[in-house]
Subunit: 196 residues, 2 copies
Amino acid sequence: MARPNQSEERRQELIPVLAKAFADLGYRRATTAALAERCGLRENQLYRLWPSKKAMFLASIDYLFEHTASKWRELLATEDARTPAERILTWEGEHRGETGLHRITFAGLNETNDPEVRDALCRMFQKFHTFITQQVQAQREGAHDAGQPDEMLTAWGIIGLGMMANITQELKLLNRDTQGQMVNEVGLQMLNAKRG
Amino acid sequence: MARPNQSEERRQELIPVLAKAFADLGYRRATTAALAERCGLRENQLYRLWPSKKAMFLASIDYLFEHTASKWRELLATEDARTPAERILTWEGEHRGETGLHRITFAGLNETNDPEVRDALCRMFQKFHTFITQQVQAQREGAHDAGQPDEMLTAWGIIGLGMMANITQELKLLNRDTQGQMVNEVGLQMLNAKRG
DNA sequence: CCCATATGTAAGTATATACTTACATTAATC
DNA sequence: GATTAATGTAAGTATATACTTACATATGGG
């Protein structure tokens, strides 16, 4: 034998670079040439690590989800005057779109004809949804008002609010402050509101 | 002169076909060959009517927005026990995604590097936002509660809810009934809620 | 009928780009 | 230090597809 195979380590190092490239450029404009250049490699070196561009894309989706989720877990662990759900909302309002996860999501939503891409997106949304549903339940602490939507539906609403915040950012429809205010105010309302 | 030019009429006839093609296939898979075939034409005939594929795409965005907006105006005109806003929410909960506008939106969001596409999307979202803001204002009739987000922010939240409903549909994450329920319940909550 | 323009048909081109191949060089293990 | 797999370099290929060109045919107005 000679020279140990370090492919796995290389992959771990490169995935954030790929994810950023897909986030910056979208799927189409993130050509294999561009990806390789950002990685400081040649195209065929990338292809030694992943079998296809699609595989690189799927790896990026998983990575960015994990990245976001671990940030959220961290927020849950720290103590604060606010509830966990409120902390996440505030943090998202302030840091919205930093990872570029949404751009990758848009790119993925354009490729939903591809079963693997579709599955990756499904898993991602499902995980977010489970996570947020738990937070909504914790926030409401069983004090379920008569007219209030159940926690699962509210959770989808909150995810939608986040998507919309990303879109308004992408299209420069709202400035950062207004965007943060939106996520905070409308999000809190969905969390806590009672029917009038 | 000979033979009157009927290009404009042809365009009007064909735009719905193009829009459906983009909605079904997304931008990338809607190749010019596919577009031409669905129109029952050759590619160069399409190119006599529009200068580029992008132009066909932009025309489709405008068309689908107008299509949706006119449906909503119709809903506003009809009388009902419910308020106008409630009527739109219910209708959207039931007919969500029929036009395929959302798929075109996703495709567009992937091409936001292109200034023309970006502008078309901005115009579309702005128009929807203006429209919905008016409905929220009408619904709340100036009875603005202290903790309630202002109507413009709420309107973005409602649009986000609609986007999310489209995504859950696209990825088959929710069945139609639950989806409609989500749009209705969470939407109504955003419209009417008072802080608990 | 004429003729100018619209419409139809059938190729072709140019380019981008995902992916491959061939070969040179390096470096761990024995 | 020899061997062998990993890594680096530089081309090349194959294909898809947006867009074009060349030419034939139809059709309405003078």
